[in-house]
């Protein structure tokens, strides 16, 4: 029972992006360094976060990744789901697949309670709150790309 590395990196990268100035964008190598993630792997995580509208991605000279207001307000739970899809502590809790034992299995409601207890914690903390607790020396470095808004877009 373990979170995927992708979701872990997803949380790391969101927190990092929330600590940089709103006028800045970060490039992949910088994000990979900040999150201790391999670039190729992190790239897929960033795609998922972009699809979920938690971050924006822009190509070109002034391109890079930036957090969206929705991403700043997102909970850890929302970041994890954006990367991994629905969280399901035990396969028996899958809304999609269901479990034919669920109507009588005495363990089923316990799994559900355990999952809910875990999710309640992950839902209570936002990316912005995590970023506010970041130690500056570890959450920020100097290799930032200054974000110049692109006219007409």
């Amino acid at each position: 029972m373990q979170l995927t590395r992708a979701a872990d990196y997803g949380v790391r990268v969101m927190v990092y992006l929330a600590t940089i100035a709103q006028t800045e964008r970060a490039l992949l190598p910088e994000l990979a360094e900040a999150t201790d993630a391999p670039e190729s792997f992190l790239s897929k995580v960033l795609q998922a976060l972009t699809r979920a509208d938690l971050i924006s991605s822009r190509r070109g000279r002034f391109g890079g990744f930036a957090i969206r207001p929705k991403g700043r307000a997102a909970s850890m739970f929302q970041v994890i789901e954006a990367v991994d899809g629905p969280i399901c502590l035990n396969v028996c809790l899958s809304a999609e697949r269901g479990c034919r034992r669920s109507s009588w299995c005495p363990a089923h409601p316990v799994w559900a309670r355990a999952q809910q207890a875990m999710l309640n914690v992950l839902k209570q903390v936002s990316v912005a709150e995590l970023a506010a607790q970041s130690t500056p020396g570890h959450s920020h470095n100097s290799n930032l790309v200054t974000f110049a808004p692109m006219r007409g877009r």
Copy 2:
């Protein structure tokens, strides 16, 4: 983030064994049917539960699997750990591997709280309590082997 199938079957088989009479032992085919698990896979789960002294295994004509008192008193948490080893919601919480970011990463204490909230639920429920809630028609069938104690052992 999902429990292994092995741990899920471990909980199922423990609950089933706790519902049969204390003088009875169950054979692998019966346990596989009761837990909806493939026999070969369940066999490994039963080995792990035996190693953890939660159940006993006996060969021969009057052989089979039976729950030990320690297994009846075990929590869901203990059953899962007996099968899967230490539960670790995120790799950063691994006591063995550690995480070099843990001293400053703002997500680390949240992962720890989420894991603790989940474990608290799983620690509060024992196998015996789950078995007491089992629906008789689903937790018991008639293919039981009567357990005859073996003298001199």
